[in-house]
């Protein structure tokens, strides 16, 4: 019997699902090697099908997306019980991801922003003796490991085909990586960046620029051009896709194992290269970083040390 595998999405954009499809021919190998027992985006299985499975009967569940409502939490818990291995798939599951920026607000503020003073969704709807209820919308978006135990992390927004294939290979092979491992190299992205050698040894910057304010040179280190590229603090694995597309790294692969708070550390590195010794000089340099939380915690606010903006 082929090992059973499940895919599930929580608070995510769907890009991670696309990434699985992007495996190309490799996906045929996957399909040959495993039995996909649950994949709502592609295959018609129901929640009750999963609930009916014996505990531990699934080899591995790949869960993408963050946890931002009660249904997602329940599904995560169910899959955890049914699976030998749970993989947090992609930035949102690993770190909280882009949806995690909602942690700068709370549920009330978000609903107010979206619905204004108009009609609000009803939590329970009754019709002909039947009732339908909406899941609870949390104040705080959580990374997957805040609600269930996670065995492996697959970083990226989304994880690249190469990273996914590598992970599948590792999981199906004999030598499982140590529990808790992030299945990507444990050094920062500069290592893989073709522009690496163009960074001057002693780089200091009087000002930063935002990507829309300039047309960056195609070859030179983006940080050296004044763009707040987070490659120096971001885990490698994507092979510098964004810098190769002439855009600075925004940190979707998250930190290395030696860093606890991606944003705080990235902030430290960026601030350190500012060429200014007074508040005024520093403030001028920081004009192009109008949204530090969005810049440094773009993918990792829920997994940061603070986790969210303080409420109340």
């Amino acid at each position: 019997m082929k090992p059973k595998v499940a895919f599930y999405w929580c608070a995510s954009c769907g890009g991670c699902e696309e990434a699985v499809v992007d495996l190309d021919e490799e996906i045929l190998n996957v399909v040959n090697a495993v039995d996909i027992v649950f994949w709502p985006v592609a295959l018609d299985f129901k929640r009750r099908d999963v609930e009916a499975m014996p505990d531990g009967s699934i080899l591995a569940s790949f869960i993408n997306g963050a946890i931002r409502n009660s249904e997602q939490r329940e599904m995560a818990e169910t899959l955890r019980a049914k699976s030998q291995v749970v993989v947090a798939f992609g930035s949102c599951a690993q770190l909280g991801g882009i949806p995690g920026l909602a942690n700068l607000f709370d549920a009330k503020e978000i609903l107010q922003e979206v619905y204004g003073d108009g009609v609000r969704p009803q939590m329970v709807h009754r019709e002909n003796g039947h009732s339908l209820s909406l899941p609870e919308f949390f104040d705080t978006v959580l990374a997957l490991d805040r609600v269930i135990g996670v065995d492996y992390y697959l970083p990226g927004c989304p994880p690249t085909p190469k990273i996914i294939a590598g992970a599948l290979h590792a999981l199906l092979g004999a030598d499982l990586p140590p529990k808790g491992a992030v299945l990507a190299p444990d050094h920062a992205l500069c290592e893989q960046c073709p522009r690496k050698d163009t960074r001057p040894e002693k780089l200091v910057l009087k000002e930063f620029k935002r990507p829309h304010q300039m047309i960056a040179d195609q070859q030179t280190c983006l940080l050296a051009q004044g763009l707040a590229c987070l490659g120096p603090g971001t885990r490698a694995g994507c092979e510098a896709l964004c810098p190769q597309g002439n855009m600075p790294c925004t940190g979707c692969f998250g930190p290395t194992s030696r860093v606890r708070d991606f944003g705080a550390k990235a902030l430290s590195a960026i601030a350190s290269v500012i060429d200014g010794n007074t508040e005024a000089e520093i403030a001028r340099a920081l004009d192009a970083v109008p949204d530090p939380a969005g810049t440094f915690y773009r993918y990792s606010l829920p997994s940061s040390l603070l986790g969210r903006r303080r409420m109340g």
């Binding site: 601030a271 500012i274 010794n277």
Partner: protein, 142 residues
């Protein structure tokens, strides 16, 4: 009657200026509020913003960084590095709902024992006025 709220401050003091200033306050028997706990670092430039985040995450009511005056750093310019990080970190903390009174960088030279008192007493007073702070982490549902 409920006990008066006493804030707790994590203070990162550089070995050569502010830590010595606190030593001097001691030998001079200057009395000040007992709310700060000093973590000694060699230089204010060693203070990783992660330490500040960690302190707030673990429930500190305030974080104070003490370094040598500009131009006086024992390591020439570590305090400027601290200043750059602090300026950016302040903006981030504002977004994270941490009031500005909770995070301070102060230059206190080894000769300024009295200033240790002034700064800590002032900070404690302001934190008392702000009231207790529930760390954001504990506000999560899950």
């Amino acid at each position: 009657m409920p006990e008066a709220f006493e804030p707790k401050i994590v203070a990162f003091f550089c070995n050569w200026c502010t830590y010595l200033a606190a030593d001097l306050a001691g030998t001079s028997r200057i009395k000040y509020a007992p709310n700060a706990r000093v973590v000694r670092v060699m230089c204010s430039g060693r203070v990783d913003p992660q330490f500040v985040m960690d302190a707030f995450a673990k429930g500190a009511d305030g974080v104070l960084i003490g370094g040598c005056h500009p131009g006086d750093c024992h390591y020439q310019e570590g305090n400027y590095k601290a200043l750059r990080r602090v300026e950016l970190l302040k903006r981030l903390l504002r977004q994270m709902g941490v009031e500005e009174e909770r995070f301070r960088l102060e230059w206190i030279s080894a000769a300024e024992g009295e200033r240790v008192k002034i700064v800590i007493d002032d900070m404690v007073e302001k934190l008392r006025a702000l009231g207790p702070r529930v760390p954001a982490r504990r506000q999560e549902v899950a």
